[in-house]
């Protein structure tokens, strides 16, 4: 099994839908330990992405993902704009010219995506950020890859690991991003960015399942 350009486009289309549906939810999470805009930020960015998809039907996967990255950079703002923007850009560079991705290619894509977030945000696992969903998701994808699982399973395991990572952010003390300003009061709340990272991966698993 492999991931095609159509899969990627379907993923992004569904993701715009999922983020619109979860706009209120992400905003509520951000209200508790941030500034109540993460839902609006993600929705605005992926609405812009969605508007561009029609122009991308003939593009390869790398070009599509790069366009997503630049679109997010130039429409989202805040912390999530540069972080997800860089993630998609790097993922696009890692898949440049490809029309189809094997399981191994998908691991390369995810690795570049996570490296993008790390390079831009300089956070580490355990600081209550997106990375707390993304790193376990990447680790699970790598393990699934070396275990020889097929794409659907790989993505499912990756997404499940992200979901666990989201849960694991709840007891954490934030030390990066705006939540860190709350000090001890950040404990007990789920990180909004980790949550949107999980939604991105879950939608990927769902649309290539």
């Amino acid at each position: 099994m492999s991931m095609t350009t159509e899969d990627v486009l379907r993923w992004l289309q569904q993701l715009a839908q999922v983020l619109q549906e979860n706009r209120e939810y992400l905003t509520q999470l951000d209200a508790a330990i941030g500034d109540a805009d993460h839902g609006a930020n993600m929705d605005r960015g992926f609405k812009a992405v969605s508007a561009k998809l029609a122009t991308l039907t003939n593009a390869d996967i790398g070009a599509i993902l790069k366009t997503v990255g630049t679109t997010l950079v130039s429409t989202v703002g805040g912390a999530s704009g540069p972080l997800y923007g860089t993630a998609f850009l790097r993922a696009g560079i890692a898949t440049a010219g490809k029309q189809v991705l094997s399981e191994a290619d998908v691991v390369v894509l995810l690795t570049a995506f996570v490296e993008g977030v790390k390079a831009r945000g300089k956070a580490q696992v355990g600081e209550k950020t997106m990375l707390d969903a993304l790193q376990p998701a990447l680790d699970a994808a790598k393990k699934a890859g070396s275990d020889g699982l097929d794409l659907a399973q790989l993505l499912k395991q990756s997404s499940d690991a992200a979901q666990q990572g989201v849960q694991a952010t709840i007891p954490l003390l934030a030390t990066k991003g705006r939540a860190s300003y709350l000090g001890e009061r950040s404990i007990g709340h789920q990180d909004p960015g980790a949550t949107s990272s999980w939604l991105i991966l879950k939608t990927l698993a769902d649309s290539c399942g």
Binding site: A31, D35, A36, G77
Partner: protein
Amino acid sequence: MKKLINKPEDVVKEALAGMLAAHPDLLRVDVEQQVIVRKDAPVPNKVGVISGGGSGHEPMHGGFVGRGMLDAACPGAVFTSPVPDQILEATKAVSSGSGVLHIVKNYTGDVMNFEMAAELAAAEGIEVASVVTNDDVAVQDSLYTAGRRGVGVTVLLEKIVGGFAETGAPLEQVAALARKVNEQGRSMGMALTSCTVPTAGHPTFELGEDEMEIGIGIHGEPGRRRVKLAPAAEIVEMLATPVIDDLGLKAGEQVLAFVNGMGGTPLIELYIVYNELQRILKGKQVSIGRSLVGSYITSLEMAGCSITLVRLDDELVKYWDAPVHTPALRWGV
């Protein structure tokens, strides 16, 4: 949600259209790109000074564009830093070849977006220097935070540095003065009520009738601690003491004292706060060389205030007093 707005997603653009209509003599506004530029920019042989950040802090930054202060401002969505394209547009619009200073408040999003814009500007051959403000003593500058937040000092810095840039000083010196003002200043804020982000539709946090938040920033976020409501004298003590201590102010020193309203606080209360602040400073034999009282860096309709002190010297006084002509601050012109 009770606001004088039309659609929540149109708030920023409509306010920009209103600003342009109200100040056609001072500003050019690109409503679509969300860039506010001084009418006569780029000013030849002058460092361009720009700033930006989320909207919802009005008059900051757009209200500070004009002679003697900012050359441009780029407001993002409410409480969301602007995007690199927007910052790049502003940078290009004010670049006269003498370089451009980016004044950035220390928030992860702002810092990253301005960084990306600076790289893009460099690629187009524009020399950019960046200064990050981080004056909020409510937040410790430690490994366990993203550093202190940039708050009230940003306003005072934009005025002082804008005045200096007007002299034709080179980028390096303009940036150095900006760093100095930031180092000489500290702030702390509090909230009596929360505020409502228009696209969120309900208050960011709930606060009981007898509670307040101490150590808030300017994004409607909860503060460092929630305590019982107290008289103004005690509140000002809670804000001023950490500011004074962190600055290490000593008897005989002189400050610029800034009492700021968060957007929903009436001026009569700000003067009561100022009265308490001047009492405390007098007690410590710190003299107030200059002052500013009003709502200049706000969190939408939040009720509350912040206190900022900047240690003054002759250079700072000189450029604070220099002429300024913007929608929100004006003197000497």
